[in-house]
Symmetry: C2
Subunit: 392 residues, 2 copies
């Protein structure tokens, strides 16, 4: 088995520890008995070669520019259905034009030894196929979230990675940036006592034409923005929910939502007793935050999920204060983590199993919102697809 | 039928209009065609005489001191099971000692013409009985929330008020203070477009001994703090929910929660499609807020339910700003509103029916959290009591 990374070790190495950055002022558990050492300088590293698959808004607006900030990752290939567009992007990023692929010759990636990692940035419904094919081509894969449109696909992807002995990581970028890491650290240390409740919201306006509004492409607010809330509740509690409730709504008079609901509200119950409430929406102006209610205080991010500008607040009684941490490029961080895992043969923090778990939760929420009952995660079977459901 | 007050008229009269206080800067619907007039000075008023029933923390800490800020209400009688305590309070507030009552001679309030209004500040389980008896004694009643422990009791209270031709108001103080009024006004005017989702949280630490932890006294986090979230969702949307989901948890190792759950998470679906998520808890440090997600922006109060220090924020894109309004004493406002309604024979803004509606919603949430299904409000019958439920 591949060795797992230590998050705590990562926080030390990057010097982005929430505690080091000021949260040490809050009442915390006593420090570990082992003294903290300064980061050990990493040896000079070769940059791994990456192929980016799908040149949509996210790839062009965030991922391609982020390579400039990477220490261990560089773009060497592009896969696109639009050769002219790909050619321009390749020129801009000094990618060899021979390394531009279409979907018809995608499997020939296997013959290109420059490519170590494939980053799948396609519509959700295509994640599984293009991940599995890249793995079978002998490449490691970073796949965007939501991992796939149902748990079977997730399992196929995980199985394909095992068969090919390649790494599979899901692009949960918030696991790799200091603000959400600080929340994880505070939660694990119970810095404000045990967690009782979590409230998480992620809403934005999404208008057609947009792949996120397409049923057949696997779009919809639960998978595209609700997944942030679900994943946050899981990394905050460190648990998987045991049961969920769900509600969904689809306006019948808005052509943007001909195929998918515009909003979800759902609750999660965790084994420790933590209860969480979440909203996910495509028809309300952007608001993306969560708050963690603990015995002795609360903390939360607002915004919590944005590419930048995250803010951490802590409240105790009438007092509230803001903790400022360094802002980093989330995409550069997650890509370098993947490159490091590949180079050092370690398991990524957010492997395929992480995506599968969220997908199981989403399956249960859809089932609950359609069927009208509390759904236990143990009831969710492989064969339950995440599909837009009829309006209740 | 008694004439209903106009909230808008009230906002004008008090000069506390959210729009007048700065929200006019935000994009709003065009003003009414009728020009706004300056407040018309009210005629000199006689102060009505109030009897306060139950001298617990709320009565002594908030209600009795608030009379000093009232224009139309003054304390003239006390009802308590502790004569010595009542005597001291009476001295402090210059109340005639002959107007100290116990529960054994409560019905003789009818013979005291100094008393116009009875304010019931007893444990929840006693609200119905002491409200009905006061009404039958010919007194108008302001009753603390939650109105009662089940819908039957609420209906009995409403019926008793009708039979006695007396006013019955439930003490939803937030309807009478500028911050929540501003939110109501913004919501009705759709200042940021239609509402899509609402998220509301109300948690605090409550430790024994406390009547709120007693099953037999009608305590529990849903009725005592969750009611704020439910009522807020209702006054924000201006609608009653059609269905709910609910989850509850009771820690088995915490003696504070031997009788009632320590936390709830629930969702509400409204006829317009608005979905709401709410938390209510007795085992987490204080956090009391809500946020309203609209098509063109969000607004919310944080804190939302405190006696003072409420704060209103509005967000659009990356910009967020705070709107400052005057802080008032919520209890003085609500008591004067009741006195005004009595003097002018008008229906209070928050009559018994308002309490009944919240109680029906709470009944449905309890049923959902016990039975594990989405519960339609139409399914909730009179005979469903709000009881602490077995742990799921």
């Amino acid at each position: 088995m591949a060795q797992e990374f230590s998050r705590r070790g990562f926080l030390k190495r990057t010097g982005e520890s929430a505690l080091a950055a000021g949260i040490a002022a809050v009442p915390l558990a006593p420090p570990d008995k082992q003294p903290e050492h300064l980061p050990i300088p990493a040896p000079p590293q070769k940059k791994l070669g990456w192929a980016v698959v799908g040149l949509g808004e996210l790839a062009l607006g965030q991922i391609m520019p982020a390579f400039a900030l990477c220490d261990r990752s560089r773009p060497v290939a592009l896969v696109s259905g639009h050769p002219e567009k790909a050619k321009k992007v390749a020129e801009h990023y000094q990618i060899n034009p021979k390394n531009i692929y279409g979907y018809e010759n995608y499997d020939s990636l296997k013959d290109n030894s420059e490519i170590d990692v494939v980053y799948v940035v396609l519509p959700n419904s295509m994640h599984a196929e293009y991940t599995v094919r890249a793995l079978r081509a002998g490449k490691h894969v970073l796949c965007e979230k939501p991992m796939a449109v149902n748990p079977q696909e997730c399992r196929q992807m995980i199985d394909a990675a095992k068969e090919a002995d390649r790494k599979l990581m899901i692009a949960y970028r918030l696991h790799y940036e200091p603000y959400n890491q600080a929340v994880i650290e505070m939660s694990r240390k119970q810095a404000y006592g045990p967690i009782r409740l979590v409230s998480a919201d992620n809403v934005q306006v999404t208008k057609a034409p947009n792949i996120r509004l397409s049923h057949s492409l696997g779009g919809g607010p639960l998978g595209d923005v609700g997944v942030y809330c679900i994943n946050a509740c899981r990394y905050i509690t460190g648990e998987d929910p045991v049961s969920v409730t769900g509600m969904q709504f689809r306006p019948t008079d808005d052509p943007n939502f001909a195929e998918v609901p515009d909003r979800y509200a759902f609750t999660l119950q965790f084994p420790s007793g933590v209860l969480a409430t979440c909203t996910a929406g495509f028809s309300a102006a952007a608001s993306r935050s969560y708050r963690v209610f603990c015995r002795d205080g609360w903390y939360g991010l607002d915004p919590a999920y944005d590419y930048q500008g995250l803010r951490l607040h802590i409240g105790q009684g009438n007092e509230r204060r803001e903790i400022k941490l360094g802002q980093v490029n989330h995409f550069a961080r997650e890509m370098d983590h993947m490159s490091q895992c590949v180079a050092e043969n370690k398991q990524p923090w957010t492997p395929g199993e992480e995506g599968l778990r969220d997908t199981l939760v989403m399956s249960a929420i859809v089932r609950a919102s359609v069927g009208g009952g509390t759904v236990k995660l143990s009831e969710v079977q492989n064969d339950w697809p995440i599909l837009p459901a009829p309006q209740i």
